[in-house]
Assembly symmetry: C2
Homo-oligomer: 319 residues x 2
């Protein structure tokens, strides 16, 4: 099968690409087109083709989707803080690129499996104590707005048979490796990653703030699973919130203390950032996992494992 | 105040225009720009300016919204059956024109009151027995999809202070005068209007199909009310489903019989159309009216009044 991954320079897109090339991929990949704004990292595999495209340009979608494309994982995104600061750019990448890709798919290969990664940031406003796939989205940030608009479009294109879409609302991911990004929830990785690297970290939200978290390995497995999910199981609405765990930021630091000791955990300092705290407080943190689990998605169990995954997979030996 | 009405050639837009010029308008209108695809009907009032624009062309929005515009009622739409048949045209008018108007407003007059008429067709899929403003929208038609996308955008533009938006989900309206249109719910007027004019009518949905209905006069009053609603009352989500009555098609015919007699009511014949029945069955028919009534919107009481309004206001003497 020929597979396209957008956003493959990003952390999550790169991990999905690696998984697709590895032994645990549930379908045979014969060609893998990796694309990003700039060339994604090279891979020593003859199936891989790297393409640099600017997805905010209309012609980009037509370059990427060809008649023989079987699956696209559309993961390119401008993250929440960035989209809030640059409204027009955010809309271009987070909404218009989705629309252009859908349109290219419709024209060329309507049977394509179109896996779209949305986010729990679509939720906001007045929320029930536990959110499920039938909860209204009332995004309180432009990132969530563009994602919610894209969801509607993927769903309508699917209903009409223009593509075969699957929409995943991805939890906040922890622990992301590398540098902080402009996501409002960047701290959810930073408060673990920085201390493990001996660097102090500032937590911009109060310790009691709860988050809906998934580890990178679980999210990656779930994203790829979406491509093999039988269409009929999704019913009239193709959005699924991926399962996660609900944990407070204070509990995350406690888990860090248990895994790595006081000296590491004491590097976290709480200093409230009003904007981040306000926006993150609008993200729900408790979801009903039932439907996702029935659809075969998997879930993490405890946050200590998240930390150990980072140490095992990403932590560089200290110099 | 300078007011713009899009879709003013349409039945509802024309009625809103008349109301704005009449003695019951709750604010003083000094200039009224009426626009449609083709010139709206002339009015003998020096405040009125007629403008023909094609809202599917990007420049149209810039023509309509000028620095001195206070309120826009954006009511232009391609109706549900038409949008289902012509996907691209529907998206252009129902989504892109909204986006272009929002963008023109943002650039020129961010304090503008932007009244957007959405529809209960945004709802579909798995629905609770009673729908409220916190129920998820899962549109099962492209008209509802474009309306739901527009809602998200109006809400985000409002949250960011780019416009001052108010979004109304309009019930099915009965009795519309004139010819049938391509709305899936066109029959909801046709089964009353045609018999009153001595013409047989075919009802394409089963008698037990329920609808959420409002009379033209009540909808018009409610749309204009939206412009004077204090922004703060709307909270983080500016969508309100307008109040209506829940009634089955069979009961509508019974009411026609009570008002106009057997000879008229017997002109209605039930003949199921599979497509229309399927789509209309996805529209919810029971809503929680509480929030709308608290916000000062008004509601009809019984369907007999709808019929009498049509007879009084629209029925031409038989030749």
């Amino acid at each position: 099968m020929k597979v396209v991954v957008t956003g493959a320079r990003g952390f999550l897109g790169a991990r999905v690409a690696d998984f697709l090339l590895g032994p645990n991929c549930p379908f045979p990949v014969t060609e893998l087109v990796l694309t990003g704004s700039g060339l994604p990292a090279k891979r020593d595999d003859p199936r891989v083709r790297l393409v640099a495209v600017d997805l905010s340009v209309p012609e980009a979608a037509e370059k990427l989707i060809t008649e023989d494309t079987d699956v696209i994982f559309h993961m390119a995104a401008v993250v929440s803080g960035h989209a809030e600061a640059e409204f027009e750019y955010g809309m271009k990448v987070n909404f218009e690129s989705t629309r252009a890709l859908l349109e290219a798919a419709r024209q060329r290969v309507p049977k394509i499996k179109f896996v779209y990664t949305s986010a729990v940031a679509v939720f906001g406003g007045n929320l029930p104590p536990i959110v499920d796939d039938l909860t209204a989205v009332m995004p309180q940030n432009s990132y969530g707005t563009a994602k919610a608009m894209s969801e509607l479009l993927v769903n309508d294109y699917s209903r009409r048979g223009f593509v075969d879409g699957r929409i995943l609302r991805v939890p906040t991911i922890s622990v992301r490796p590398g540098a902080p990004n402009r996501a409002m929830t960047s701290f959810a990785s930073g408060i673990i990653r920085e201390p493990l690297n001996g660097v102090p970290a500032i937590c911009p939200v109060p310790p009691e703030q709860e988050l809906w978290l998934s580890s990178p390995s679980t999210v990656v497995k779930n994203i790829v699973h979406a491509a093999v999910l039988p269409t009929g199981l999704l019913g009239p609405w193709r959005c699924v919130t991926l399962p996660g765990i609900c944990i407070s930021v204070g509990e995350m630091v406690d888990a860090l203390r248990a895994v790595a000791g006081d000296k590491v955990a004491d590097l976290v300092r709480f200093k409230k950032d009003e904007t981040i705290s306000r926006v993150v407080a609008t993200f729900p943190s408790k979801f009903d996992k039932e439907r996702a689990l029935q659809l075969g998605f998997t879930v993490d169990t405890n946050f200590g494992d998240f930390i150990e995954e980072y140490i095992r997979h990403d932590l560089q030996p200290r110099k």
